[in-house]
């Protein structure tokens, strides 16, 4: 399904392929999941927690956020480059993006982190 097929207007925005949107949507999901996975890893493993301590006053949170932002931006840039002229299966991208978003929410929720760690 492409924008030009679905759109009824005559503006140029209706001719843009959905690839750039898909890249931004999936990258946002990846970024959210990265926050959760890194938060969980930093909490579950002392060595990773110490490794993520980029800025001592903020502690592990500094590494979690900086690395997650880098993962998000790099994935957005990579996917954007790959899909900038393409029309992709956005339904599948959405499913993946929302699944990753849920991973982000769950892995930042301390009782769920504790459950996974058997605490």
């Amino acid at each position: 399904m492409s924008m030009s097929q679905s759109g009824s207007g005559s503006g140029s925005e209706f001719d843009i392929p959905n690839g750039p949107a898909a890249a931004a949507i999936l990258a946002a999901g990846i970024g959210c999941a990265a926050v959760g996975i890194l938060a969980f890893a930093g909490d579950a493993f002392d060595a990773i927690g110490k490794m993520l301590n980029f800025y001592n006053p903020t502690g592990t949170l500094s590494g979690v956020t900086i690395v997650a932002i880098i993962i998000w931006l790099v994935s957005w840039f990579g996917l954007g480059r790959a899909w900038h002229t393409q029309t992709v299966q956005l339904a599948r991208i959405n499913v993946a993006a929302f699944a990753l978003l849920i991973v982000g929410f769950l892995l930042t929720f301390p009782p769920f982190m504790d459950l996974l760690q058997g605490k």
Partner: protein, 189 residues
């Protein structure tokens, strides 16, 4: 009437950036939903589109300002380690909360969740703003794009709500204090 620098920055983080970002959701969600209904009469004019773009960019700036000021200015004050021998934990909020079983979960659940989940909001809102600005009126055309835009906007709202609510409670039980005093007004007595 006086305030400390840490109080002032905490208020700026929570009320200046965070609460304003939270308030802005009502307008953004209503407009995105109205557009997504997809009737021709719901199409935004060029000027309306520009205003929506400005509104969403302002939200993105507020979202990033909130998490960055929280994580890199306020949070270090919150988690400061008291010097040996200190018994009054009033200036060390994290230690104050952890010193009692009645308050420790405000840190272990509240702050631990807030400090991480809040970062989902700027990531999600940046995507929402980018896609809305790039596709303009066409953002409503393919169902899958508007589903993602609305879904991530709602997720950003939920993440902000969690962070904001816990922020308010944490500030009630263990406020960040200290810094130099700024005198705002002098009373008669």
């Amino acid at each position: 009437m006086e305030i400390t620098t840490r109080d002032l920055v905490t208020v700026l983080h929570g009320m200046g950036f965070g609460a304003l970002f939270m308030l802005a959701f009502s307008g953004a969600l209503a407009e995105l939903y109205r557009m997504s209904v997809g009737r021709p009469s719901n199409q935004l004019s060029q000027r309306g589109q520009s205003l929506l773009g400005f509104y969403l960019i302002a939200m993105v700036i507020l979202a990033w300002a909130t998490v960055l000021s929280g994580a890199y200015i306020v949070y270090p004050w919150y988690r400061a380690v008291p010097p040996a021998g200190i018994t009054d934990m009033a200036d060390y909020p994290r230690r104050l909360l952890l010193s009692s079983g009645k308050t420790s979960e405000w840190h272990n659940v509240g702050m631990e969740w807030k400090e991480h989940v809040s970062w989902l909001a700027p990531i999600a809102m940046t995507m929402v703003a980018y896609v809305t600005l790039k596709y303009k009126r066409a953002v409503i055309a393919p169902r899958n794009i508007r589903t993602a835009v609305l879904g991530f906007a709602v997720a950003a709202f939920v993440a902000t709500g969690v962070a904001g609510a816990f922020g308010a409670f944490l500030n009630k039980y263990a406020p960040v204090r200290g810094g130099s005093v700024i005198i705002l007004m002098e009373g008669e007595q």
